[in-house]
Symmetry: C2
Subunit: 234 residues, 2 copies
DNA sequence: ACCTGAACACCGTTCAAGT
DNA sequence: ACCTGAACACCGTTCAAGT
């Protein structure tokens, strides 16, 4: 068994007493634990140090500053989500699954979203996803003229979708059940003043529906298809 | 001249010596100044108090906590951007302009984006924009079944677009010139390893192009059209 | 009514020191 | 080499007090 990976360095107790010297992987691993258990806002150098049973300054041996820590954690999330690691036969299905996984990763890792925003340069993991998606498009004869447009569209739709849904989900404690989530969102729109917002109250049900996973996947397929159809009529 | 508005309470000096008692509008107004002049990360209760020439605790008279302050500032940004206050004849042009203004508002107000994310409930201003857009769609016979889908699509594309572009813009100091911005983004992709990321390096130019304002507006029109075309073939 | 001062429980980060 | 303690310059927020 050569080389323990980051994934295998999970610890159950809150201190680390036993183990050898700290590693970057161990630090990032624990940081992700803290985020999932206590939320992003609780991910601080000091809190992380405490969780590792170590002085705050020990962290700085493996991470140059907080921004570097955040970057590392985000890439770890992306790699754990294995966004492109699946093999549907139909390429539309593959694309739908890929972006659904990306959205889910951004939504379920509590507060992964705030980590994404404000990052100027993409991490290696994010770049790899981009690369894989463009390769699939190219394999279906969608080249430079259209591929970039389609890719950007898919990416932005996914990010925007997560950006809108993320805060809503976090608000209501654990809204894992999609049906209950949809119901709550609809209720929020229905509670608005019908005089001030007639359209919003009227569209409440459909607005809530369009945030569901199935609607998301359908829209991803729709984006790819309508763009490739466009391409065939010069 | 009855009633000074928030907009008219601009101050040129950093202290407020003269003026009467603090108002919520004055606080939010100053907060927006701080954001624009020093960036979001510098918007703190203490910094704001200093800018107003007042003790930190005086702020709490007009704002219940920092989250409330942030919410107020975001709504102020939305209202200043007057996203829906224009009148193109063609409804596609109107929609394109509306969402372009929204994107621009999110991008130019330095760090408006971080304010958006993490907000569970939309402010009155944001809700009004939604209402207006849905009304325009309804006026062109796009009702509940499709309107919500189209609206969500437009909204998410806009938000995602701003989310991706925002950090890039902020990174390179002042990248107001869109040509220069596009060139830099292309360069970033071209600098990647051609062996590790063949697609990304190959698509560099197109990927950068698709982030421009014109490409954005075109895509907004495209989204509306392809969705309404869909609607006509049962 | 409106504002202030002092204090509490936190941050990220630097620096000099320990083993 | 790897870690610690003490300190600096900050945060948001509460509480009791001033005018």
């Amino acid at each position: 068994m050569p080389g323990a990976t980051a994934a295998s360095s999970k610890r159950t107790s809150r201190a680390r007493d036993e183990a050898g010297p700290l590693s970057r992987d161990a630090v990032l691993d624990r940081a992700l634990d803290v985020i999932n258990q206590e939320g992003v806002e609780r991910l601080t150098i000091r809190r992380l140090a405490e969780a590792l049973g170590v002085s705050p300054m020990a962290i700085y041996r493996h991470v140059s500053n907080k921004a570097d820590l955040v970057d590392g954690v985000f890439d770890l999330i992306m790699s754990r989500a294995s966004v492109t690691d699946h093999d549907e036969d139909d390429w539309l299905d593959w694309l739908a699954e890929t972006f659904l996984r990306m959205r889910t990763a951004l939504l379920t890792q509590r507060g992964a979203l705030p980590l994404t925003m404000g990052r100027a340069s993409l991490g290696v993991q994010a770049l790899s996803v981009m690369e894989d998606v463009l390769a699939v498009l190219a394999k279906h004869d969608i080249g430079p003229p259209d591929a970039a447009r389609i890719f950007n569209h898919l990416m932005m739709y996914t990010l925007g979708s997560a950006a809108i849904l993320g805060p809503i989900i976090q608000q209501d404690a654990e809204l894992a059940d999609p049906g209950e989530r949809t119901r709550r969102i609809r209720a929020n729109f229905e509670l608005l003043s019908g005089k001030q917002f007639p359209q919003l109250t009227q569209h409440a049900s459909e607005l809530a529906q369009s945030l569901r996973d199935t609607a998301f996947s359908d829209e991803i397929r729709h984006i790819v298809m309508s763009a490739s159809v466009e391409r065939l009529k010069p």
